[in-house]
């Protein structure tokens, strides 16, 4: 019950999904769409589980006065405020207009968007510090990494790029040819790895995700 049934469920649904791929008929498609729909709906329940986990971890922090517990208050405050706006407590709880709620939209525009964009823009700093630290001619491999990166960066630098047409040609050759070869080798490997792992999951060989009992 605790282990055999889940494993057989995995097998049945896995094999079904493989078979349905070869059957274009509507009835197979119909079940396929059902299954995908179900996964989304289950996902919503899981989200509730996630929110519950977030609340519990934050609450524990506050209750036991762990380090930085005060900030967990901010998290909970943001969370509850946004939920209240999302369900539009004043007027129409029952329609999706919560998502158009003035405060909901403004929290999104003036809290989520600025922070999100700023987090993303940190990449400009990190790409520089990573380049400084890693691009050193320590070994053959590191030198290859360094040289390829430098050629491409020079090519796209507005000043050095136009120096020589060969720089441009080399850079686009690098981006087109070896790049293609390496990506293809990785993709073939990854494809095989995914197929093999999926097969192991379906056959019940890889089962770490089910835990133990």
């Amino acid at each position: 019950m605790k282990r055999q049934l889940p494993l057989s469920l995995v097998f049945i649904f896995g094999v079904f999904m493989i078979i349905q791929y070869f059957v274009p008929h509507e009835s197979s498609e119909w079940i396929f769409e059902f299954l995908l729909d179900w996964i989304y709906i289950i996902g919503i329940f899981a989200l509730a589980l996630g929110i519950w986990s977030l609340i519990r971890v934050s609450w524990d922090k506050i209750k036991y006065r762990k380090d930085n517990w005060q900030y967990s208050l901010v998290t909970l405050l943001g969370l509850f405020a946004m939920i209240v706006f999302g369900f539009d407590y004043l007027r129409n709880f029952q329609t999706a207009e919560g998502l158009q709620n003035f405060m909901f939209v403004h929290f999104f525009d003036y809290i989520m968007i600025p922070i999100q964009a700023t987090m993303f823009s940190l990449l400009a700093f990190f790409i520089a510090s990573a380049a400084y630290r890693a691009f050193r001619a320590r070994s053959i491999l590191a030198s290859l990494l360094l040289i390829a990166a430098l050629i491409v960066m020079l090519r796209f630098n507005p000043y050095f790029g136009p120096i020589s047409p060969y720089l441009e040609k080399t850079a686009s050759w690098l981006l087109n040819v070896p790049n293609l070869a390496a990506k293809r080798a990785i993709v073939i490997g990854v494809g095989l790895g995914i197929v093999a792992t999926a097969l192991k999951v379906i056959l019940g060989i890889e089962r770490a995700y089910l835990g133990k009992d």
Partner: protein
């Protein structure tokens, strides 16, 4: 200890003063454009607050600090709730309710699509998942997990077999001599142009050998020595060249993200540039 506390209080005071100054100044700017006072106050606050959050995140580059912590925790709470609300309204109300209950459909004002008994299965699976909160019968949640994992494993197996494996293999079939018209033509048209015969032919060779050696690098059940060692070494070289080139190529795009953010600070907030 007392000194650092004093300093951080001082910083807090400065931040609050600057915040207030910016709020007032921004309100003034908005009012100048003919906006009513109430709206100006509100928008002045919003822009100031967005700028405050932006700077708080940037301050992380110096070191972890209360402002970053504040922005981070606020962001986590707000975004978690945001996705929950979106998920609830779009999937649960939009997709699930109309297929199971007319009463609830009317309550949520979504068009009822007719009762569908099959939609009780995800409901049951979802509730099983929620049983995780109980430690005694939490194992039931594995059934839902098994359903999800099984379905998607089957789906992925077939999808990757086709797109990542079969089609990539067939793409490797390239002619090793491009458009051969004899040695005379070859040497008379010899050029380093990307569309020239020499470069095209050479590129095809590099692709073929690169893929070949790359795959050898990913062999696990064979010691990398002898011919295998040599080939896998070439494989990792090709990989490294690629990684370097991809890194270099990305730099430009990342810088423009920062340009966008700084433009917000300098233009939308401070009004320093137009």
């Amino acid at each position: 200890m007392a000194v650092t506390k004093k300093i951080s209080l001082l910083i807090l005071a400065i931040v609050i003063v600057l915040f207030a100054v910016s709020w007032i100044a921004k309100t003034g700017t908005f009012e100048d454009t003919g906006m009513p006072l109430g709206l100006s106050v509100r928008d002045g606050f919003l822009v100031t607050f967005a700028a405050f959050l932006t700077l708080s995140i940037f301050s992380f580059l110096y070191k972890d600090n209360p402002y970053y912590k504040f922005a981070e925790h606020l962001f986590v709470g707000v975004s978690a709730a945001y996705w929950m609300c979106v998920g609830f309204w779009s999937t649960f109300v939009g997709n699930f309710i109309p297929k199971v209950s007319e009463g609830l459909s009317n309550f949520f004002e979504v068009p009822y699509k007719g009762f569908d008994v099959f939609y009780f299965i995800p409901l049951i699976l979802g509730i099983m998942l929620l049983l995780r909160m109980s430690s005694k019968i939490g194992w039931i949640s594995r059934w839902s997990l098994a359903f999800i994992v099984g379905t998607t494993a089957g789906l992925n197996l077939i999808r990757y077999m086709r797109s990542d494996f079969i089609s990539q293999v067939s793409n490797t079939f390239v002619p090793l001599v491009v458009d051969w018209q004899g040695f005379g033509a070859f040497f008379s048209d010899l050029s380093l142009n990307a569309s020239g015969q020499l470069i095209m032919t050479m590129s095809n060779w590099v692709i073929f050998i690169g893929v070949f050696c790359g795959i050898i690098y990913f062999f696990f059940s064979k010691e990398h020595s002898g011919f295998f060692g040599g080939a896998s070494k070439v494989g990792i070289w090709v990989l490294m060249v690629t990684f370097g080139a991809s890194f270099g190529y990305t730099v430009m795009g990342r810088v423009s993200l920062l340009v966008g953010r700084l433009t917000f600070l300098f233009h939308d907030w401070l009004g320093l540039i137009n």
